[in-house]
């Protein structure tokens, strides 16, 4: 018993760490929001501001499940490149972008983005910049299953016009 206890203590000490300046992950199971943000905060002790965004499967309507697919040769490199753009554009200390793939239930986390900067405006703006690009310019495809039938039909989710408008504002002069 005593040995087991020592082991669990050691595991708790070996906390999750994030890569700096960019920590980009595709996760095929649970996304640990608290741990991610705590590690990101610990990694950026010089930052004066950290903003974050958590996107979730909306628990409204009759959506029972959501599935995200990706294309590995493009998706992760694309997210890494997006992170580098954000770091350069907003003078960030660091950025975190974790995105789920696979099947999710209402209430589950889909995406976590965080940005660390000297001041709040850059942190807020960078978080929005990364999210707007993940919504409509990253290699993900989403489908959902509605209704009570567990073998019900899956439908692909079309990109929304608003998402493209949100993306376009980053290419027009401020």
């Amino acid at each position: 018993m005593a040995r087991k206890w020592r082991c669990s203590l050691r595991c708790r000490v070996a906390r999750l760490s994030v890569r700096s300046p960019a920590d980009i992950r595709l996760l095929d199971r649970g996304l640990s929001v608290g741990e991610g943000l705590a590690a990101f905060n610990a990694a950026h002790g010089e930052a004066g501001a950290i903003a974050s965004f958590l996107g979730k499967v909306r628990p409204d309507g009759d959506v029972k499940a959501l599935e995200l697919t990706h294309y590995a040769p493009l998706t992760q490199p694309g997210m890494e490149s997006l992170a580098q753009q954000a770091i350069a554009r907003f003078s960030l200390d660091g950025v975190l972008a974790w995105h789920r793939v696979g099947v999710m239930q209402p209430g589950d986390a889909i995406v976590l983005v965080a940005a660390a900067a000297r001041h709040r405006r850059d942190a807020f703006d960078a978080t929005m910049f990364v999210m707007d690009h993940l919504k409509s310019a990253a290699w993900f495809w989403k489908r959902e299953r509605r209704g009570s039938d567990p073998d019900g039909e899956w439908r692909w989710v079309e990109p929304r016009g608003e998402d493209h408008a949100d993306l376009a504002r980053w290419t027009t002069p401020d």
Partner: protein
């Protein structure tokens, strides 16, 4: 050896499978001829991209896939 064609997102439903192998080399006309009329129709849409060997093609009609390479058909995305 062959060229592997991957159908991403909704294109997999239209193709009836997630992937298919065809004899290489494969150019644009060869691709249109080997994916069936429904997917070929989608491919002509400007919003549908084509990647070859892990790179998105700036001009998809210039496709020149060799044996052993992977061609991914990428419909409009919906992430986040």
């Amino acid at each position: 050896m062959a060229v592997r064609i991957l159908f991403l997102g909704p294109l997999s439903d239209l193709a009836g499978a997630g992937e298919r192998e065809v004899a290489g080399p494969l150019d644009w006309d060869g691709l249109l001829a080997s994916v069936g009329p429904q997917v070929a129709g989608q491919l002509r849409d400007d919003r549908v991209n084509v990647a070859c060997a892990g790179k998105v093609l700036a001009d998809k009609t210039a496709l020149a896939a060799q044996d052993g390479e992977e061609v991914a058909l990428l419909p409009p995305v919906s992430g986040g």
